[in-house]
Amino acid sequence: MANRKISYREAINEALVQEMERDETVIILGEDVAGGAGTPGEDDAYGGAMGVTRGLFGRFPGRVLDTPISESAFIGAAIGAATRGLRPVADLMFMDFVGVCLDQIMNQAAKLRYMSGGKARTPVTIRAMYGAGLNFGAQHSQTPYPIFASIPGLKVVVPAGAYAAKGLMIQAIRDDDPVIFCEHKVLYDEKGDVPEEAYTLPFGEASVERDGDDVTIVAIGRMVALAREAAADLAAAGVSAEVIDPRTISPLDLDTILESVAKTGRLIVADEASPRCNVAADISAQVVSAAFGDLKAPIRMVSPPHTPVPFAPCLEDLYLPGAEDLARAAKFVVEWSR
């Protein structure tokens, strides 16, 4: 099998390269997606704040555009260009910046197809970094994807590793609707087995990372690795945990979660987004609504506290859920009885 270990960052880069080679309407725009634009030579093009678009500027002349520092302008331009026949991949950089371009995404991209009776299509992909763990402070460490998940007309993709990142990015670019592609900034160096060839992963299909009988752990993004760690520790304690990664939070594969809960009767959901109105709350409510009779215990949601992300490293460590928090929540629901 032509698989090899590459990083999350490299997997996204490879997806972009392969799609840009296959389809000349794919363009990239954002702040410093080339980096050092206007300077000569490949060496000067850093390729995005975290190097994800490195190498593309020289390889695809005229298709990688460094933009002014105005999200409202370039996100709007990407959406407009999408309606006119291009497939832009726009780099929002930090998802925390969504406030200054939310109208373009929420009121234009998400609604143009619907409001035009299908005449307009916006095949735009908007990439953005989310998540805490690098001491970037309160305005550069948030997990705002619940905002996008709540907007009808958007697809929201949260890959947890390199294999999913490449397949979901290729799928996102080929999808004719707006896709928000959420990259956890701590995951960029994490390696995984990735095929050399181009491939797609369907939206709305969860991945079962580990089979188990006693408790279901649904985890999103970086929480998936913590869930696997927690499941290994739980196994040592005699608790068999099933770990599910939804991969896309909109559309959400609720059926796979419900099948698991029918088997285990117990659910915890790990979501790094702030606890009020996050995806854990959404999944929990949907499961209770659809499968109350299957549940043997209350659902536990594992999320950070309802505070801005601290800057002090010791406080950020306390803020973020760890594997032991997931394991503790799982043990709670397993041991719970009336």
Binding site: M1, E196, E197, A198, Y199, V208, A232, A235, A236
Partner: protein
């Protein structure tokens, strides 16, 4: 493999303290286990007879891997064998790159890239190489439970057919004749002048066609057909069409469960690995072309019996009695001189369900050559 301590992820048996056939009591020491932190002694949780030891000494396996089977004496051997095969299948599916496994390679054959995996000694005292050809929607890793065992005394090459695995996704017109020509092209490009051929299902039909075209030059020493297509009209057409059309795990799971006598052997890892290869660009289209070429209505359009008429030399066939894809009744279409091994209780993936029996059948074909 026990988990000793929070950070232990894998371990290896440093030495077995019991042998197959030994009676053990609960609490008896059965193995010394080494991890990167400590070496300790594993005690049996049960009393019974040691029926199988499933890992080699010094073979690193993840925590939780089944490393031995203990059962009362009255449990029949075939149940033990089936359980062992199930474990080995899971271990090999879940494992990353196994150390010391077959070596992968790629070859350009008439402008199309063929991926293959080779094991066994370079010099093999005149023993001819064995070439393994997988079936529809499968790939060269299908042989993972028998490739190493067969390569003790000869080279064994497993290839990915066009449209499959890591090979080109260009299957031409989708005909099996085209795939057989690709196999012959591979043999030529690799200087594999005289070989043993073994093929599973669609790969069995391809092996027969390749053998037929190589017969005149005396290049085929033996032919082993494992649940081959092309010897009868009956086939599970719904399976072929279902797999070709499936886009999601939900859609493909009930299809893949038909591959085994026990549907539970279609584990999550097995299904995920089939999906991973099917989702490669071009793989789905290739499977559609092949399905159209292989079926007329719900019957097989493939008939390799005329081609087989021209094949001399040893031919052995193996079939699982519970094959739900290509019915064992099709064995009636095999030429009379073909020696048939029917494996009771096995399904279509008989080389995964009963690898020992299939390896034995192949050895019967290999003979002394």
């Amino acid at each position: 493999m026990p988990k000793w301590g929070i950070s232990m992820e894998a371990g290896a048996v440093a030495c077995w303290l019991v042998a197959v056939g030994d009676e053990v009591s609960a609490g008896q020491e059965i193995a010394e286990v080494e991890t990167d932190k400590i070496t300790g002694v594993l005690e049996s949780s049960w009393a019974g007879i040691v029926r199988a030891l499933l890992v080699d000494v010094d073979q690193d396996v993840p925590v939780g891997t089944v490393i031995a089977l203990i059962a009362p004496a009255h449990v029949p051997q075939h149940e033990v064998d089936a359980a062992a095969a199930g474990v080995l299948l899971q271990t090999s599916d879940g494992a990353g790159d196994p150390a010391g496994g077959p070596v992968a390679g790629e070859l350009d054959v008439d402008g199309r890239m063929i991926s293959f995996a080779i094991s066994g000694p370079e010099r093999s005292d005149g023993r001819l190489p064995l070439v393994l050809i997988h079936g529809f929607g499968d790939d060269k890793t299908s042989w993972r439970l028998i490739q190493e065992a067969l390569s003790a005394d000869r080279q064994v090459v497993a290839l990915d057919l066009p449209g499959h695995g890591a090979s080109t996704k260009d299957v031409g017109d989708g005909s099996l004749a085209g795939l057989a020509a690709a196999v012959v092209g591979f043999l030529d490009a690799r200087d594999l002048i005289r070989v043993h051929l073994a093929g599973h299902a669609m790969g069995g039909a391809i092996a027969t066609m390749a053998a037929s075209s190589l017969q005149a030059a005396g290049r085929v020493a033996s032919l082993t057909l494992i649940a081959p297509a092309g010897y009868g009209r009956m086939v599970n057409a719904d399976y072929l069409r279902g797999v070709a059309a499936a886009e999601t795990r939900r859609d493909i799971t009930p299809q893949l469960q038909q591959l085994f006598a026990d549907p539970a052997m279609a584990s999550r890892q097995f299904i995920d690995s089939v999906l991973e290869r099917k989702r490669i660009d071009g793989a789905g289209a290739a499977l559609n072309l092949l399905t159209d070429a292989m079926l007329t209505g719900s019957e097989s359009a493939v008939d390799v019996r005329p081609a087989h008429a021209g094949v001399t030399g040893t031919c052995v066939a193996v079939w699982g009695s519970d094959d739900h894809i290509i019915p064992p009744a099709n064995a009636a279409g095999l030429p009379r001189e073909v020696s048939l091994h029917m494996i009771a209780g096995a399904g279509h993936m008989v080389h995964l369900e009963q690898p020992g029996a299939v390896a034995d059948a192949i050895r019967a074909a290999l003979g002394a050559l």
